[in-house]
Every structure is written in structure tokens, then in C-alpha cells.
């Protein structure tokens, strides 16, 4: 899904534009960054309610090209600034995490499949 299609699906808006040609297949939602770093595959949309700069750092480390913030939480300027510097797209959804994910799943964004917990 292109960023434009994502924001249409969740009645959201684009806060930092994506590099041209960005097309996302997978989504991953969490508010805890270590969970993201543990499980997420590269090139996935990060859906989170965490709006501080660490959400962008996490995306940078895990090679995630785009972040969608939920619950209409507008990120602080330093978050947007860092995302812009790193070329990471930022979007905003007015719905809760659950509804945002539901709408995106319905619109065709896929999950990563079953997680195998390795103790």
C-alpha cells in the first residue's frame, strides 16, 4: 500500500512525505520498541502510539521505511525533524491502535504471520 492509500484507509494524514515509490506490504503494531526490534521484518509499516524520537530511531535501526502514529497523537517537532532527516515517512491516524490496524488489514495490508516464540 502506498502512503496515500494508507491515510485514505484510516482517514489520516501524511506528516512527513515518503521517498518516491514507497509501497508497503506488511504492517506491525506495538507501543514497546523492543518488541518491534525483536520481531519486525525490514520494509514494514510501524504502527504505534509512541510518538517520541525513539519510534523513529527504532524504525531507523530495523530498516522500517514508514511510521503510522495512532490515536491522533501528533508527534513533537523533534520526531518529525529526525524522520525527515532519515527519509522515513510519518503518518497520523485518528483511530485507536485496534481500529487503525483493523482498517488497514481490511484494506489489504498484511501481517507477518504466526510468531514462533523462542525461549
Amino acid at each position: 500500500m502506498k502512503p496515500e492509500e494508507i491515510v485514505t484507509a484510516v482517514d489520516g494524514e501524511i506528516l512527513v512525505a515518503a521517498p518516491a515509490g514507497l509501497d508497503l506490504v506488511y504492517g506491525f503494531a506495538s507501543d514497546l520498541m523492543s518488541d518491534v526490534l525483536h520481531l519486525v521484518k525490514p520494509k514494514t509499516l510501524l504502527i504505534t502510539g509512541l510518538v517520541n524520537v525513539q519510534s523513529v530511531r527504532t524504525a531507523e535501526m530495523a530498516d522500517l521505511p514508514a511510521i503510522l502514529f495512532v490515536r491522533d497523537k501528533f508527534p513533537p517537532p523533534e520526531t518529525l525533524q529526525l524522520a525527515k532527516e532519515l527519509g522515513i515517512a510519518v503518518m497520523l491516524s485518528p483511530y485507536t491502535m485496534f481500529e487503525t490496524c483493523g482498517k488497514l488489514f481490511q484494506a489489504g495490508l498484511r501481517g507477518q504471520g504466526r510468531v514462533y516464540y523462542v525461549p
Binding site: 520498541m33 523492543s34 526490534l37 535501526m61 518529525l80
Partner: protein, 348 residues
């Protein structure tokens, strides 16, 4: 002219400015003087339209400023010539068909000023004047495109040269054992700058020619360790990364408070983080397990009241492929097991 309002809306406003990409950034960085055409052709006001027609055809241009005694008095475009031809009135001076009210741009201004005019009004070219109002050049959309492409190319080349130099660093320098040390001091509690060291290390690795997979694993491991220093270490700590051609060796050291039970700290889900830390997105209890998963070797030593020392190693060549095979087989095995189980329950 129905398309005019839509074009006008596309002009860059301050509201859009926060979403600009590199090309738009360049249109702010580049000066009009850097992209304009300096050797341009001009016509004098008393020239006949027929002569202009020949001139435009010969030099293959579609417009020119009209100059009288060094001053721009008008601008003549191909549209004016077409109008003149339709009226069959070619033996008149250019002053009869040229645009008299000339909009100019200043050489010192950003390219974006010219872009705004090109998008708001349907100009084909704009005369460029200096501070004193003297005509010094002409700018067209084509000049802007060429200028931006040239700047992008030079951006790209600079980055390529940097990358090339960095990736050949170890080949160029001969010693019995070469390595590159990167040291970072991490302040306690500094969440806003947290992750900067990891970001620098990851970028350095990519510059040095490491694969994106290696850079990602290393980035995640160091980032978790860096956030641990910020969250838990009383006085912060240091991250030392030693890069060798075949090995990345990372040491993360702090002087307290120390981990009570290092084995328990390694358990996925175990965390001593406060509610405040969790609100900041950390404390899932996956930090150390994450690090262990990302690196090839890891050792954690800690003593209460003394401090913690975390050592990580990532091998660059043969082990990388071995590990990938290992992961591949493990996931293949699991997949096969699930497939069989599903086949049994569904009766297929």
C-alpha cells in the same frame, strides 16, 4: 484556461515546506544565478517581427527579452510570434507584439522564487536581474531541471566517493592488524538523543561496505545497549566499537548500579523498568534477549555497586552465511511441523 487555478494551487507554500524532499530542498538551496543561462539572446525593440522569426528558427529558441539601452523593456515569446503570423502582420517592430509588463527575478534569490512564478503564472521564461536591476540572465523551467539534476548528481558523486574511500579503507592501509575504533559517551536519562550513537555506528558500517543485514543486526544490538545505559546506568556509560575487516567488537561499559541477577535479566520479558520508562516505549524485557539474537557472541558481566560490562561480537563473513543457513533450517523445520499438524487436524 480552466487548468489555471489547479496549477496555481501547486505553488509551494510555507505549510507544505515541512514536507519537502531533497529536490524541493535544492530549489531552496540553489540560487537563480547558479542555474540561469548567462549567454542569452536578446532583441532590440525596433527589430521587425519577421527578422525575429528567422532568428528564433536559426538558434532554436522560443523566446527572448527585448532590450533597449541595457534595460529590459519587454519579453517576446513564441506565442507572440504565432499571434503575429495569424494576423499576417510580420513587418512591424517587436514592440507591437511583445509583453510590456515584464516580471523579473533576482539573481541572488532561491530557485524556488522562479518556480513559484512558473507555477502560479504561465511564464515560459523570466529575465534575471542583479541588485542594480541590470539584466544578467534568463531562466526557464529547463534551466531549473538541469540545475537540480546537476546538483543531485554532484550529491550522489560525493556520497559515492565517500563510500568508495571508506569501503577501501582496510585495503589501503597496511598493518599486521588494522581496526577502526568508534567511541561514544552516553549520558544517563537523555531520551531525546538516545540512539544517536547506534545511528552513527550503523551508518559507519554501511559506509565501510557492510551488508544491510549486518548493519541492521549491529544497529539493533547497539541501540538496545545504548537505551539500557540511558535507562538504567547511574552515570551513563561508554560504547566502544572496534571494526576489523572480519569482525565487529562492541563493548558497552557503565559504573553502576549493576545487575543483581544477570541470568534473570537475560530472560525474555523480565524487566526492572519503571512505569515511566514503559510509557517512553521501553522495558518490554526484550533488550538483552534481542541483543543475544542479533550478535554472534555475547557476554554480560555485572556486579552490584560496581557496574556492568557487555561485550558483543558480530562476524562479518563466513559466520554470517552459516547463521543464515541455520535460521533457514530452523524455520523450515518449524514450518514443516506446523504443516503436518494442520494437515492432521483438518483431515487432509
Amino acid at each position: 484556461m480552466e487548468s489555471l487555478p489547479a496549477r496555481a494551487e501547486r505553488a509551494i507554500t510555507d505549510k507544505d515546506a515541512r514536507n519537502i524532499g531533497r529536490i524541493e530542498e535544492l530549489s531552496y538551496e540553489l540560487r537563480i544565478s547558479e542555474v540561469m543561462t548567462r549567454n542569452f539572446l536578446s532583441v532590440s525593440p525596433d527589430l521587425e517581427m519577421e527578422q525575429v522569426l528567422d532568428l528564433f528558427r536559426q538558434v532554436r529558441i522560443s523566446g527572448a527579452p527585448v532590450i533597449s539601452e541595457g534595460e529590459v523593456v519587454g519579453i517576446l515569446s513564441i506565442e507572440d510570434l504565432i499571434r503575429c503570423l495569424r494576423e499576417g502582420n510580420t513587418r512591424v517592430p517587436v514592440t507591437q507584439y511583445m509583453t510590456h509588463q515584464v516580471v523579473t527575478v533576482r539573481a541572488h534569490d532561491s530557485v524556488v522564487e522562479a518556480l513559484k512564478l512558473f507555477t502560479q503564472r504561465q511564464f515560459g521564461r523570466l529575465p534575471v536581474v542583479d541588485e542594480a536591476g541590470k539584466l544578467v540572465g534568463i531562466i526557464t523551467k529547463g534551466d531549473i531541471t538541469r540545475g537540480v539534476l546537476k546538483a543531485l548528481e554532484s550529491d550522489y558523486q560525493t556520497e559515492e566517493v565517500r563510500r568508495y574511500r571508506a569501503s577501501h579503507l582496510f585495503e589501503d592501509i597496511i598493518s599486521d592488524r588494522s581496526s577502526l575504533m568508534l567511541r561514544y559517551v552516553i549520558e544517563p536519562g537523555n531520551f531525546v538523543e538516545g540512539g544517536q550513537a547506534s545511528s552513527h555506528i550503523k551508518r559507519a558500517l554501511l559506509r565501510l561496505g557492510a551488508s544491510p543485514q549486518i548493519a541492521r543486526r549491529c544497529g539493533i544490538a547497539v541501540y538496545e545497549a545504548e537505551m539500557n545505559l540511558i535507562i538504567h546506568a547511574t552515570n551513563g556509560g561508554t560504547i566502544t566499537t572496534e571494526i576489523e575487516p572480519h569482525l565487529i567488537n562492541i563493548q558497552v561499559v557503565d559504573d553502576g548500579p549493576g545487575i543483581e541477577d544477570p541470568a534473570l535479566a537475560m530472560k525474555p520479558g523480565f524487566s526492572t523498568a519503571t512505569e515511566r520508562i514503559r510509557e517512553l516505549g521501553f522495558g518490554a524485557g526484550m533488550g538483552l534477549p534481542n541483543i543475544e539474537r542479533c550478535v554472534d557472541e555475547m557476554s554480560l558481566e555485572s556486579a552490584l555497586g560496581i557496574g556492568t560490562s557487555l561485550s558483543m561480537k558480530i562476524y562479518l563473513q563466513p559466520q554470517e552465511s552459516l547463521e543464515q543457513w541455520h535460521y533457514y533450517f530452523v524455520s523450515l523445520g518449524r514450518w514443516e511441523k506446523t504443516r503436518r499438524a494442520t494437515a492432521r487436524t483438518s483431515g487432509n
